[in-house]
Amino acid sequence: MRRGELTMWLAALFLGLTLVVAIFAGAVAPYRANEQDIARRLQPPALGPHLLGTDEVGRDVLSRLIYGARISLLVGVVAVALSCPLGVFVGVLAGYAGRRTDDVLMRVTEIQLAIPAILLAIAVVAVLGPGIRNVILTLSVTGWTLYARLTRGETLGVKARDFVQAARATGAGDLRIMTHHVLPNVLSPVIVVAVFAVANMIILEATLSFLGLGVEPDVVTWGRMLNGGRLYLSTAWWITAFPGLAIFLTVLAVNLLGDQLRDWLDPRLRNTLRSHQL
């Protein structure tokens, strides 16, 4: 097995375990996410009832990490699941229709790309208000442009190919050509980009939570845990170290998986500027 493949399997194993632990958080976590024990506040990591220590109000850090994984993975995956089809739809339509439709859709894409994602996200979430649904909606709104630009470029190449011309000659309509001939041929790079985007969404959600603009206050997230531990940096490093490490390892695993997937599905993306923009 090549080193790249081994790394990918390790990353997949880590993500699989995180997913299982997140799904069965209620059974796996030693305590409930918001269960407090003031008498045991700020306990350092140690073998015993609190393996990764406790926070400023005596909540178990390990249990909160496990429950926090639910939100990070849920938000990351669902935001991509919503933004990806929207972006692909816009990109295929722009690339296939061309002319004015292409101009209008690409100008809209450029306008959104001119606003930094995090700035757009905090502005949208500030208008919509906190909550998981609004955070997912916000991240979906910020994420679709990536797929739109990529799919549009791919569609421009595919629509000039012989098999599309042949389909048109046999009387296939535009909708059929787009869904049956163009779409399947532009999906490989989209899948690769979508995997990288999950990592970006996880970081973006954690950033919103860290700034206090994420989900509801009683919902535990890795970003919120980091924010809560800020005031105890000198006395209780573990409150910030472990959630940060969880974000880092999860994002790293997703990126490594994306790297390998890119080499398999779309080697053209390797060593290009586009792959480094993701």
Partner: protein
């Protein structure tokens, strides 16, 4: 065109959510306060009239008045913008100074331990959330070692921690791109010819290879400038840096939407300007583009 579009987007953002006045006043404000605020701010006028006035004012540099500070938004942004630009440029310089040599060395020493270590560092750097890195830097260099100040601005030492943490947003990506671009260029005939003519290795790398690999690198820097400006929002909040990033976060918590609108608009226009400069720099970097344009 993009500037006009961003203006529409920013204006629509506040209005699409419903009555913008309800976003600005306290949730328990009496109805008469809501009505008065709506009238004073002109939100009782037709939407096209409001947008026309907003755009007309924006073109004259008037971005409205802060609801909390009762000062012109333009003045607030101009006061804070230099601090953000200084921080962003400092982060950009650190990223370039670290990533370009790392990418070049990796490409030249391809497959060696140095290459693997540098690229492992780059991949890890891409996965580190900057707010976590910032907290780690504060805990170690600020709290434990007491070497560097952890908040505020005013001296060169104040720049170090925020600029270093902000620079990691693009450092890993940049190092990987420099490596791949250099690998591509180092295999070209003109590099082989230069070496065959006896040109020194450092000259081959700096003049023949790096210059030809520069366009994707400069393009990435331009595109990633938005990431840096966005990342400044987080960095400035953590390090109490007096820039527009912190201003916008404070404005959101204070429901001060004219300030939020103004900052989003100004940051987007800066991004557009930076990418225009990047486009213009292509002609300087590659004489063929100059010839084609002519």
């Amino acid at each position: 065109m993009v500037g006009l579009g961003v203006s529409v987007a920013v204006f629509a953002l506040v209005h699409l959510s419903g009555d913008p006045v309800l976003l600005m006043v306290s949730p328990d404000a009496p109805p008469e306060v809501v009505t008065t605020t709506r009238h004073v701010l002109g939100f009782d006028r037709p939407l096209y009239e409001q947008f026309g006035r907003y755009l007309g004012n924006a073109l004259q540099g008037n971005l409205g008045v802060s609801l909390r500070m009762n000062r012109p938004v333009t003045t607030l942004i101009l006061e804070r913008l230099p601090a953000t630009l200084q921080l962003t440029v400092a982060a950009l310089v650190i990223a370039v100074v670290v990533a370009i040599p790392a990418g070049i060395v990796s490409a030249v020493k391809r497959g060696t331990l140095i290459d693997r270590l540098a690229m492992a560092g780059a991949v890890a750097g891409q996965a580190v959330p900057i707010f976590w890195l910032a907290l780690l830097l504060i805990a170690f260099f600020g709290v434990r070692l007491r070497w560097l100040p952890v908040y505020g601005s005013g001296s060169l030492a104040h720049f170090v921690l925020p600029a270093v943490s902000l620079s990691t947003i693009i450092m890993g990506r940049l190092a990987r791109l420099v490596r791949s671009s250099m690998l591509e260029v180092l295999g070209q005939d003109y590099v082989r010819t230069a070496r065959a003519k006896g040109v020194g290795e450092s000259r081959v790398l700096a003049v023949h290879a790096l210059k030809n690999a520069a366009i994707p690198i400069v393009t990435l820097l331009g595109l990633q400038f938005a990431q840096l400006l966005g990342g400044a929002v987080v960095t400035e909040t953590i390090f109490a840096w007096p820039g527009i990033g912190r201003l916008v976060v404070e404005a959101i918590f204070n429901r001060d939407f004219p300030v939020v609108q103004g900052v989003v608009l100004v940051v987007s226009l800066i991004f557009v300007a930076v990418n225009l400069l990047v486009d213009l720099s292509y002609a300087v970097l590659d004489p063929r583009i100059r010839t084609e344009t002519a």
